[in-house]
Amino acid sequence: MTVRRVAITGLGVVAPLGNSSQELFANLIAGRSGVQHLAGPEARGLRSPIGAPVTFDGSAHFPAPRLRMLDRVSQLALVAAGQAIVDARIDLPVERRERCGVFVGCSIGGAGTTDEGYHTLYAERSDRIQPYSVLNAMTSAPASWIGIDHGLSGPILTYSTACSSSAVALGEAARRIMFGDADIMLAGGAETPLVYGVLRAWEAMRTVAAEDPQNPSASCRPFARTRTGLVLGEGAAFAVLEEWDHAVARGAPIHGELSGYGLTSDVAHITRPTPTGQANAMQAALDSAGLEKGDVDYINAHGTGTLQNDAVETAAIKSVFGERAYAIPVSSTKSMHGHLLGAAGALEFVIAVMCLKCAAVPPTMHLDSPDPACDLDYVAGRARDGMAVRTVMSNSFAFGGTNAVLIVKAFDAR
């Protein structure tokens, strides 16, 4: 069976540091951080009230009656997906829309709606739950709304594999195209964890970074000796994936090719990652792309900033790439945009594609003092440009042990 190529023809982002892929990438290259002190009610009483919020007002995008039916997570998803469609310059109504689908990664769904409902029940001791609560909170709502709004009647699925959810959504969407089940897939992720109940739950796990009292924006320090954990962020990121010949035939802007996808599981521990599981996913991605270790120009690391992840990921990269690992720039952009959980893989996929388009790689910020166990080239403190960026690997690993690795390649007409 011929495996069809997958073109990336549209990108859309609503994220900390920018509500477009261009604005986001420019801020990342400049080393700016979207992490900030949270002063709102969502952070009351937190030991470390920090997060990476999105500047977004739903009422600017949706009329009031519609807004009541959309949790913030669906609002962000719809806007980011809409951007990707515009960017792809695709006229969906003329496409065979039963051959177009939507795959979304989302870990916690409409967290704001859930939080508000429980507050109504338990704090206000009222039974007046909003009638739309179930529809707003369900994890599959973003995918369903995107399909409904754009009339995409092919497969619509939601993947929930914690922090690798949207990388899985992108990889699985690519496979639908590769093996002939669909021609166009809108794939990405959305997450809005900056609500009181979720922030409290994450704090209880002791994985959230301590707030830097002098500079809250520098609280997330992946690969640093002084790292103390991750910082939660919110946002949505989407891509239009398209069968290569279809994209070429309609003269679409081709930003790159999704050429590799590796998916493995740790089956070890619910939180503790394994170098073997991660390495297997990276190798599987290389194999599926038909690439050699020497072909990878940059790795966008999972790089959460937790003690466990960064050292294990470093070991996994070294086990796959051997000595070459030291020559590959590896950076964690989570140092700037925080950890978007189910949307993280999609956001970092968009960043990977932007690296191809701009021939530059963003830095790992706040890495003044590397952990001895983290001894790769992490592009510390300053972006790198003027380099050949033809192939980028994007790592996403998750609680529960689902490892997803995507590989994007620069446009190649071959």
Partner: protein, 93 residues
């Protein structure tokens, strides 16, 4: 303010309905309100009129006038139960 005027304000403000569309005969469906919207509207009516709507909200409210009559019925029953001299004003929306 009449019950129709109050209801019209709620429909315009919270449901994005054009004021000129809100007539007594207009059906809730043509105004874009589905069954869940109607349930939500009942919460707003409870707040506005200080009444308590039973769990078995009537399902035969089809037109704006049906809702107006339903509200007026609730308010009348409340008045029957109210002690003499107690105020009878909406509590705000």
């Amino acid at each position: 303010m009449s019950t129709l005027d109050t209801l019209m304000d709620i429909l315009v403000r919270d449901y994005g309905v054009a004021r000129e569309q809100v007539t007594s005969e207009a059906t809730l469906a043509t105004l874009g309100l589905d069954s869940l919207s109607l349930l939500e509207l009942m919460f707003k009516i409870e707040d506005c009129y200080g009444v308590k709507i039973a769990d078995d909200t009537p399902t035969d409210l089809v037109t704006v006038n049906d809702v107006v009559r339903y509200i007026d019925g609730l308010v009348a029953r409340k008045a029957e139960l109210r002690p003499a001299g107690a105020p009878d004003v909406p509590t705000g929306t």
